[in-house]
Amino acid sequence: MKKKYAGIVFVLPHLLGVLLFLFLPFLDVVRRSFAQAAGGFAGLSNYGEVLHNEAFRLAAGNTIRFTAVCLPLLMLLSLLLALALYGIGSGEAALKNSLLIPMAIPAACVALLWQLLFDNHGMINGMLSAFGVAPVSWMSTDASFYVLVGSYLWKNAGYVTVLWVAALDGIPGEVYEAARMDGAGKMASLFFITLPCIRPAAFTIGVISFLNTFKVFREAYLVAGSYPQERIYLISHLFNNWFLSLSVDKMAAGAVLLSVVTGAAVYALQRAWEE
């Protein structure tokens, strides 16, 4: 029937492109992960090499730490904001718009600003010293981690808040009415109606936010370069440097590992969420 083929016809152009520019490279990556740089089978040696690689360990550790810190922080923070924002009445639209602004600002635009803020002589330190607090060397100590977290939160919080608001908006009013009628207080409504209803949204938001954690590489790279301070050396930095030095085998193994871990995590989460 025409309908059946129509589907394939619709999908085909894009699919072909995806295969060529994304899937094929992915397969190639998988292949290379089992091969030596010069060609020739290497079995799992690349994986072993990668897993024992100091830089990889550092980057992986940092990335995991970053994600583990940022994601919950972001989602919680923005949820609270969304709860505060939702139903605020007039000005809600304006507030939402202003919250969305950081998302729309290209990283390159604020790189200079970040430098001016977090420099040793930067504005943040200036404010700290005004309050009598000792200045922190942001970009060259472990404090850089918090700079990165702050940057991520600044960029994504507003956006996620708006998403939460939309999600909250999706809960039909009648449910609350019914609950109130049953004598539920505000807190009870919150915990037993609001939160469960936004669970599906939480999943999507989580995924989107997770994808965005990789984008924080942009700010980090623009402000601190290819080899930033230890704490903010992420997987993205590592892969970028491996690319520049053409460490093909390591990249391949690392990429496969990354994909596997990511895929597994998302899959597990999906399963868990849908329970």
């Binding site: 309908k3 994304l22 992915f26 505060a84 919250l99 600003l113 420099d119 507003g158 599906p200 895929g263």
Partner: protein
């Protein structure tokens, strides 16, 4: 959901309590833009004075004044009239963006429709593949993509950035979610009326799914203006660089000019963003709800 406001003291306090963080968040969100605006209105001398600790390593900290002492349009003029390079980079970015958006409209949109409405064999597989590819960070696929582009002799041209961008799977994902919500009955009705699949897509699917389409395009537009990794990896010619790679090159000595340039660079996606923000909210919201 609307709550009726009770004018008790508690509720007023509550109102303040809830407004404060939101207002604070809004300020934090907008703060950098304010910096950029005020900074681009300051002349070199004034900026030099404020930024001296960073520029020249003098003692003290960077200070700022939110109302410039000696406002000037010097930076704007310099940007608009004396910097052909800026515009060169800007139109590079626009070309990349246009290329990707058009490509996504032509390829991605039908793909999303096809995936959403046609349970062909392998549909699930393709869907799964798309999700998988969506999750992978660019760095994982950077090298083999580079080699593929090399084979096609596309490296160091704008196509090296445009083509992989067209076939990014996230927009398809977004549009897919909206296309799935179109009631099948309407489509069936149209088919019964004799419409072919193409017409069904064009005249029913598109209008009904436009929220998703617009939001996908919007997000992609944003993404294009912010792209750094792909141009960095695939473009060698400085003449092909997009704005995102050009702006960081403007050093702190030309801070005023850098701010002005950044302002223009963010104004473009921002305006579009605001223009389509309702679509965006609806779009993401809907997909968020559905999970």
């Amino acid at each position: 959901m609307m709550r009726r406001k009770k004018r008790t003291a508690g509720s007023v306090l509550f109102s303040i309590l809830r407004c404060a963080p939101v207002a604070a968040a809004a300020c934090v969100a907008v703060g950098p833009v304010v910096f950029l605006v005020t900074g681009s209105l300051m002349g070199r001398g004034e900026l030099g004075e404020y930024l001296a600790p960073v520029l020249f390593g003098t003692e003290g900290f960077v200070t700022w004044r939110f109302l410039p002492m000696y406002p000037t349009f010097q930076n704007i003029v310099e940007l608009l009239c004396d910097s052909p390079e800026f515009f060169y980079m800007f139109w590079n970015t626009m070309r990349i963006t246009a290329g990707i958006l058009v490509g996504q409209l032509l390829c991605g949109m039908p793909a999303a429709w096809g995936l959403a409405r046609y349970p062909f064999r392998g549909n699930r597989a393709v869907y799964g593949l798309y999700i998988l590819l969506m999750l992978m960070p660019f760095q994982a696929l950077m090298l083999p993509e580079y080699l593929v582009l090399e084979k096609l002799s596309l490296n160091n041209t704008l196509w090296a950035v445009i083509l992989p961008g067209i076939f990014s799977t996230f927009p398809v994902f977004l549009m897919y979610r909206f296309f799935t919500e179109v009631p099948e009955e309407i489509l069936e009705a149209a088919r019964i009326d004799g419409a072919g699949e193409g017409r069904v897509f064009l005249y029913i699917g598109l209008p009904l799914g436009r929220t998703g389409i617009v939001s996908a395009l919007l997000l992609q537009f944003l993404e294009c203006f912010g792209m750094i990794e792909q141009p960095l990896a695939f473009l060698k010619d400085q003449t092909l660089f997009p704005l995102a790679l050009y702006l960081p090159e403007i050093g702190a000595e030309r801070a005023g000019f850098a701010f002005a340039a950044s302002l223009v660079a963010l104004a473009v996606p921002l305006l579009l963003f605001f223009a389509g923000s309702e679509y965006l909210e609806q779009g993401i919201a809907a997909s968020a709800l559905k999970g």
